[in-house]
Amino acid sequence: MALTPVQNQTPAFTAAVSAAAGGFFGLFVGTAQGSGLLGLVIGAVLLGAMGFVYCNLLAQEKPVRWATVAVFAIAGFLLGGLPALVVGALFGWFAGWFIFWLATSSYRKHLPPYLTPGQVLWYYSFRVICGAIFVFLITPILVVMPLSFNAENFFTFTPEMLRFDPEGYSLKHYQDFFSNDDWQQALWNSLRIAPMATFLSVSFGTLAAIGLSQPHVPFRRAIMAVLISPMIVPLIISAAGMYFFYSRIGLQGTYFGVVLAHAALGIPFVIITVTATLVGFDRSLTRAAANMGAGPITTFFRVQMPLILPGVISGGLFAFITSFDEVVVVLFVGSAGQKTLPWQMFTGLREQISPTILAVATILVAISICLLTTVELLRRRSERLRGMSPS
């Protein structure tokens, strides 16, 4: 339902704003093709003219928009084949929608009537900026995915891939990952190290968080700062320190050494998340349990643990990801026998740019998304529980 009564805009206004949008897109397209200025001018003139003309065709919105899509799609196809057809159709759809959205003043319908034009402009600019930031953050990750299905051994979008020719795609890099001994050894090492490091971080981190949340513990802040320090000290410093220390006591280059080092990196995450959950934990529950004859250990496992579990699990997930993604410390503390996935990717990128790395990256991104979704679901559950507990 419209908040604000609107009337159609003048052709001049529509043409000017469409021209600005056209120039914006034209700048990108033009830069990619070699001349940003030319693209900007062509885009601005094209959309400006369209905006001016369409203002007089408001009654036939539907057919005009379809015609725009068709014209852009055909133009794209003639210029660059199938991929350009898709891009052209999308752009045509956007251009048609945008111009009519402007011309009919639809953009004002859902905004309060008292907003000044400047405020309306800012309302939409803000959304465009947010969208641009989002695109900027996510594109590098998305680009990796289609490239991992490349049939060639380079990080290149081949002409076949751009034509959507099935010949240009293959699963061979995934096959390489699953059949190559180096990668399998690395995967296996990662899977052996990360859960053990997570287990240690979670055990020690949870204990530390519970201890540090007791009001009577002396020097709580100082102890907390020391425990959190692996998160703050530059990784390369901790790694070099660990290297020399572990070498002296014979832990360097051993499985247990890497696990310990990763556990030290994971503990801060567990402490922080568990401490946060403990803020909402009602201490009278433990007193009630003690009152009913439960020992401290029973109380911990039967009363406290179930309530802080979401915090423990999300801390554990962060600890797991830390160990699973970590390359600096393992390069120092590990030896070739403990080569993990990130290590293999690191040397692989330097020595031979093979899309197998992209295949692995895609798999890891998928795993990370699953884990983060779990964290988010747990966080919501914890909030719900906290809302229910008496304060």
Binding site: F154, T254, Q352
Partner: protein, 367 residues
């Protein structure tokens, strides 16, 4: 648990070991190399036959790039975990000077050629350091996109500096070595005077001034895999890299790329054994080196990668590529047709001038 597993392993291998498996050698060794296709060629030519012969477990580390720094750190921490390390000759010299690598007596520690020529003579002048056992001769040279250079493909290294005839980006290594020599050569300095000119302040300025003419069209690379990727992308028209990488791009990956062998710069790569190994591990490392650098083994490596074997006696044994079945000899940097105009990496010059010229080069890059 690991210890128990290890002792069990040691016990079983000791029981089953053939006579050749001497009791005073370690039964596990860590070999450090560069990774990628190069490590793979060593795996096929050296590691697998050696493991089969002796039952040793070989662990591959791919840290050659930071070998000097890591060996220093290991030495400081008193915990050397590597047994045999593959490094370029310049790194071997540094390690040898710092006492981090063991000295090798070629005639005692290395196999003689099949015809009885001593190892020292067989390797000849490639034995550039007392600690270094040469393995391959590789070269840094140019490759170009055959479809981007028009009808007249480049034939001289100076075409790299010719932006008019060959417009487009070039890939050059982000360090002064090689680039300075090429720049002077193309600025009209005679080949045998290049280092005399480069010694002087004006000569260095002159080389940088020549590089300045193409600076805007250069993409600087630092890892050997960069140029092949840039060439495959068509991002550059020509670029320098190691000849084995170009071989792989051209023959194995089938890209429209060709070699420009003119003024290629030869360099050596080979083994060192870190100083300070226990007797058992040292015996094992020496045994491996004796095996892996004999005439046949060095020739075998050339079946998998186009680097020239360091022994004179290996050259006639170089055969066909193991998978592609093409003759490898014409792809060797040392092949007479390719080696008409070559440089040898000038170890002495760069040992003396590297820091100085590096600083100037980096300052020039930042300008």
């Amino acid at each position: 648990m690991k210890l128990r597993k290890l002792t069990a392993l040691a016990a079983t291998t000791a029981l089953c070991a053939p006579m050749a498996f001497a009791a005073d050698m370690a039964d596990e060794m860590t070999i450090v190399s560069w990774g990628g296709a190069y490590s793979n060629s060593q795996l096929k030519a050296y590691h697998e036959p050696y493991a089969e012969k002796t039952g040793v477990k070989i662990i591959n580390d791919e840290s050659s790039n930071e070998a000097v720094a890591k060996l220093r750190a290991m030495n400081e921490a008193g915990n050397v975990t590597w047994d045999v390390v593959d490094v370029v000759a310049a790194d071997a010299m540094r390690l040898c000077d710092e006492g981090l690598a063991m000295e090798i007596d070629p005639d005692e520690h290395l196999a003689a050629a099949p015809d009885g020529t001593s190892a020292e003579e067989d390797f000849g002048e490639l034995l550039v350091s007392d600690c270094f056992i040469p393995q391959i001769v590789y070269s840094t040279t140019f490759g170009y996109r055959t479809d981007l250079v028009g009808d007249t493909p480049p034939t001289s290294v100076c075409d790299v500096f010719d932006l008019e005839a060959y417009p487009g980006k070039r890939a050059l290594e982000k360090r002064p070595i090689n680039n300075m020599e090429w720049a002077l050569l193309c600025d009209g300095v005679a080949k045998d005077e290049v280092y005399d000119v480069l010694e002087t302040e004006e000569g260095q300025e002159r080389a940088l001034a020549k590089l300045d003419t193409i600076k805007d069209s250069v993409i600087w690379w630092s890892a050997g895999a960069d140029t092949p990727q840039l060439l495959a992308d068509g991002e550059v028209v020509m670029g320098s890299t190691y000849n084995g990488r170009l071989f792989s791009v051209i023959e194995e990956q089938d890209q429209p790329v060709a070699m420009l062998w003119d003024a290629q710069v030869f360099d050596l790569d080979g083994w060192i054994i870190p100083a300070g190994l226990s007797d058992e591990r040292k015996a094992r490392a020496l045994d491996y080196i004796y095996f892996a650098t004999d005439t046949q083994r060095l020739a075998d490596q050339a079946k998998y990668i186009s680097y020239g074997p360091a022994r004179a006696s290996s050259a006639p044994l170089v055969g066909k590529h193991a998978e592609l079945g093409i003759e490898m000899a014409p792809h060797m940097p040392t092949d007479p047709a390719n080696a008409q105009n070559t440089f040898l990496y000038n170890y002495e010059f760069w040992a003396d001038y590297r820091d100085d010229i590096d600083a100037k080069f980096q300052a020039w890059l930042a300008k």
